[in-house]
Amino acid sequence: MLRYTASRLLQAIPTLLGLSLLGFLLVHAIPGDPGRIALGARATPSAVRAYDAGLHLNEPIFAQYITFLGAAVRLHFGYSLGLREPVGVAIRDHAGPTALLIVYSMIIALAIAVPLSLVVAKRRGSLIDHGVRGLGMISFAMPPFWLGLILVLGLSVAVPLFPVSGYASGFTGELRSLTLPALTLGLLFSPVFIRTLRASLLEVLDSEFVEASRARGLSERRVLYRHALRPSSLPLVTLVGLTLGSLLSYTVVVENVFGIPGLGALLVTAVTNRDFPLVQGLVVVLGLAVVLINLATDLLYGCVDPRVRLMATR
């Protein structure tokens, strides 16, 4: 397990370095003078120079990168241009709703996917099976912001169950505000889970130990729930990690549909205002989050399934 953990950690290092390089180069790729953009056209040249010196832009580029790396490790990304507060503070204040939304939508996606894939795997080739697959295809063709609006029309206008938008305080208020966004994401992502779980269930149901439990006279229900479900749900662990990147992309959009004050809303404001220190901080933090969670799922997978860590270290 130690060797497996070490090899996974080592593999993450180039990715993290690439990520930091990308965040670093972002400021340098902006045409024109960052100080000029930040301070506006009327700023004096000396003020612009002083601003650039504050960003260490007058130093050699390699030294700049090292400085950036040192600051990024402590999550210091300078001051946001629009918010007039440190980027780290702004990100911390907006991280909560996003994290809650992601967890909530994962739970909804799994709550839809697990029972449905059990039904679908039991009745392979039936009308339900094909129907679920068809719905899956439709969900791939569905823009998340539009589905969000449809859910608003259905569940907060026609039947006033949930708020149209905005973010209430208190845990129950937060959950109520996050239900429609989480449902949007959950509906869009459950087909991916269903497809994977269905495939692995079918594979496990064909295996010899399932045959053996059937031969021992166990009921089909018991075979399915007690013997087949657990080994089949292993690929889901990896999938949850892999989906996170695209889930985060969709979260950025969905947060803005429902007015959730999370990192996605912050990112859109930052990009609209060309608030590059804030964009830089968000790029690095969001990328870091995805890489770390993928690493965690990899390790978790190694924990759950010994075959994986044996194969990886061989």
Binding site: G18, L26, G131, M142, F145, L153, G245, T272, V283, V290
Partner: protein, 293 residues
């Protein structure tokens, strides 16, 4: 596979097959998709070229009118015909999806073919770089480019093409590893053809079929994300008609004039499903032509 439909004895089974898009149906579902797509493209081009729809035509005497025979999707707050704008926008949205995909596909194919053929250190370095891009939340990456170039299409083109490359490069490389071992490549090498000629003329056609199916899915993905960015105000700028921007404009009237956002969105979903269905038709004959099958 024949295109004739065989008369089925059991009507329930026929229904299952029809809904399923199963074996018997493979032939007509892609045709349906391609048909819808063709109608939309022709209509959109006609509307543009012949000037039937003026997307900016404001009519303040007919604002926020519900769908009727004159205005199929109703009118918006400025009295503009929502259906006309939706049709008009189809070429732009499809073009953005297709062009970004084709750009990424071309670059990804070349990169994947090259490193797959040569192997070695270059191969592992380039594929590592691809992994880094792939590890990134896609929309954040694109938005970084929009920050650099400002809201609009430049950042979208560059961001979508760069983020699209890794998957194509991976697919092309994987296919190249198989093709490289084939006898006709050995024959070409024996004949003393240059590396460029072998990759370009002999191997690339086989790699193409390995990536085309993913390309269609990628087109849909890119259309959705370009629309999402326009919805957020970072892509195509109003008053240019675009699906995402139209849906965003209608959102503030969701409670009083539901049609402005919902009907263009429905149109959008139908077009995307049509692309998927058309793609299924391509997947079948191509996969049979792919080497090693």
């Amino acid at each position: 596979m024949t295109s004739q439909t065989v008369a089925l004895p059991d009507p329930r089974q026929a229904l299952v097959n029809r809904l399923a898009g199963g074996r018997r149906q493979r032939v007509s579902a892609p045709r349906l998709g391609a048909g819808i797509l063709a109608v939309v493209i022709v209509a959109s081009l006609t509307v543009r070229v012949c000037g039937i729809v003026t997307p900016g035509a404001v009519d303040l005497t007919h604002t926020l009118e519900p769908p009727s025979i004159h205005h199929l999707f109703g009118t918006d707050d400025l009295g503009r015909d929502v259906f006309g704008r939706t049709i008009y926008a189809a070429t732009l949205d499809l073009w953005l999806g297709v062009s970004t995909t084709v750009g990424a596909m071309a670059l990804g194919l070349v990169i994947g073919a090259l490193v797959g053929y040569r192997g070695g250190v270059l191969d592992s370095c380039v594929m590592r770089l691809m992994d880094i891009i792939l590890a990134f939340p896609f929309i954040v990456f694109v938005m970084a480019f929009i920050t650099i170039y400002g809201p609009g299409l430049t950042g979208i083109y560059i961001g979508f093409i760069i983020t699209g490359i890794p998957v194509f490069a991976r697919l092309a490389r994987a296919a190249m590893l198989g093709v490289r071992e084939q006898e006709f490549i050995l024959a070409a090498e024996t004949l003393g053809f240059s590396r460029g000629r072998i990759i370009w003329r002999h191997a690339l056609p086989h790699l193409l079929s390995a990536t085309v199916v993913y390309a269609l899915a990628n087109i849909v993905l890119n259309i959705i994300y370009v629309a999402a960015l326009s919805y957020l105000g970072l892509g195509v700028q109003p008053p240019t008609p675009e699906w995402g921007a139209t849906i965003a404009e209608g959102q503030q009237y969701l409670l009083t004039a539901w049609w402005i956002s919902t009907l263009p969105g429905l149109f959008f979903v139908v077009v995307c499903i049509a692309i998927y269905l058309a793609g299924e038709g391509l997947a079948d004959p191509l996969s049979r032509r792919t080497l090693g099958q």
